[in-house]
Amino acid sequence: MSKTTATTTITTNSDQVPFFQVRRKLYNIIVRGFLRLTTLVTVGLLIFMIGYILINGLKHLTIPMLTTQSSYIEDTIGIFPNIMNTLYMILISMLIALPLGIGAAVYLNEYATNRRLVTTIEFAAETLTGIPSIVFGLVGMLVFIHLFGLKQGVLAGSLTLVMIILPTIIRTTQESLKSIPDDYRHGSLALGSGKWHMVRTVVLPSAMDGIVTGSILAIGRIVGESAALLFTAGFGLRLNSLFKSLQRSSASLTVALYVYVSERGEMEAGFAIAALLMLITLLLNFAATYFGNKLKKR
């Protein structure tokens, strides 16, 4: 590469300077123009999408929409059950995935001695990140519903979500564990603490920022997930208590959006859910950036 650049410089110094200079200047201007243009396209698309959804959606995000359930008899639409279902799924899948993920990260960073085992686990987590959600949905259905005999509902959906968010929690926790200086660990051990005591009282509290960031990212994935929930959590639009919803077909906000828009042509409800999802996404994003920055400062 440097060779071509060198030749260019030599030619520039020879007699054909004017034409060459013009061509180079033109090249630079065009390149800059294209860089700005594409960036503008990217940012413009985002602004358009946020604006479009909020302008069309916020006006439908009324109190009855947010606090009632759909009724065929009164011909009204409400998304309250779907808000609750999404919350149930966040609650249950985080309850399972958080300890598993933190445990795995602690093992990888604090306990593991076998290099090959660490690579295997990290490879598995990476592989999980790349698997499409529809495949998670298929396997979730095969394992949790066909094999374990669960009914379509929040429990089967949440278990499927655990597979999806586990790598995120492992990775962010691991990153923040790595950023803890070894002096902390040595100090604790030198004072006579056992390994588990050291992990519990020194390592984990210092890794709190990373765990929080990981949780926010994981919640973001849960809120946005749809394909994996179609056949595991189901399409049900009725309101259930947390306990009943576990084994009863329960549509999350995203699945409800799909049902309302694609199958029932209810665009108002669709826009309302889209606006709500957009607001949640914005909120989670700012939260993740805030905690992520705190982590980086360390």
Partner: protein
Amino acid sequence: MKMLFFLCGLVSVGFVLCISIYLFVAGIPAFKVIGISDMLFGKVWLPTASTTEPSFGILPFILTSIWGTAGAIMIGVPIGLLTAIYVAKAAPKKVATAIRTSVQLLAGIPSVVYGMIGMVVLVPLIQRTFDLTSGATLMAAIIVLAIMILPSIINVSETALSAVPAEYEEASMALGATKEETWFRVTLPAARSGVATAIVLGIGRAIGEAMAIIMVSGNVANMPGLFKSVRFMTTAIASEMSYAAVGSLHRDALFSIGLVLFLFIMLINLGLKFFIREKKEET
């Protein structure tokens, strides 16, 4: 205590094994009944035909997925790459931070929201522009996918571009090259394995996407054409699984599509491993 943490670590390995085994167990029976070549290269998908013999060719889905992904890459990579160069090299610091935040936000928007915007804005636009009976076509899906892969492409290539040692660029500029020439002739080639990783990641995202494109692609099992309604591997599973009877060959065939999709993803992961290894060797 160590044992407990060890078990937590094994869970993700267990998940991967479980997913692979179950997809093979569920995906192979239909191949056995229908025949591998009849299924992979059959052009007609009529799983519920009653008057004629049902037909289970999944070639339309496979080709649609490949075409859709290729189209998304062709549009998304140039835009994403140029944006990444702008953010990594040309943009003032504050502007760069703002763009990074926007890109993150773009990645966080749920697929159904992409699908809905595509359905309400893009599909009618395509219909009017090209004077079609329906705008729900492969083209609409390609555009939606191209936007959805932008964050992966921008993030990964930006990281790669920023990681190129400053000495390379300084040497180039000391020899008289302008900044713009340096970015394209020195920095970009030096970051090529990172860029390749970004493209492969984008391919993985595009081929696995389901809910955004199910809403804009018309969902008909045609052989792919830019202005035809099409069905992808992912959308075939998503749209038919809920009505395919349990235990039927139709349902088994859908699992087989899942298996084919999974094999594609594994192939892409292998490619990813290869490029990441190459990057490690370079540094």
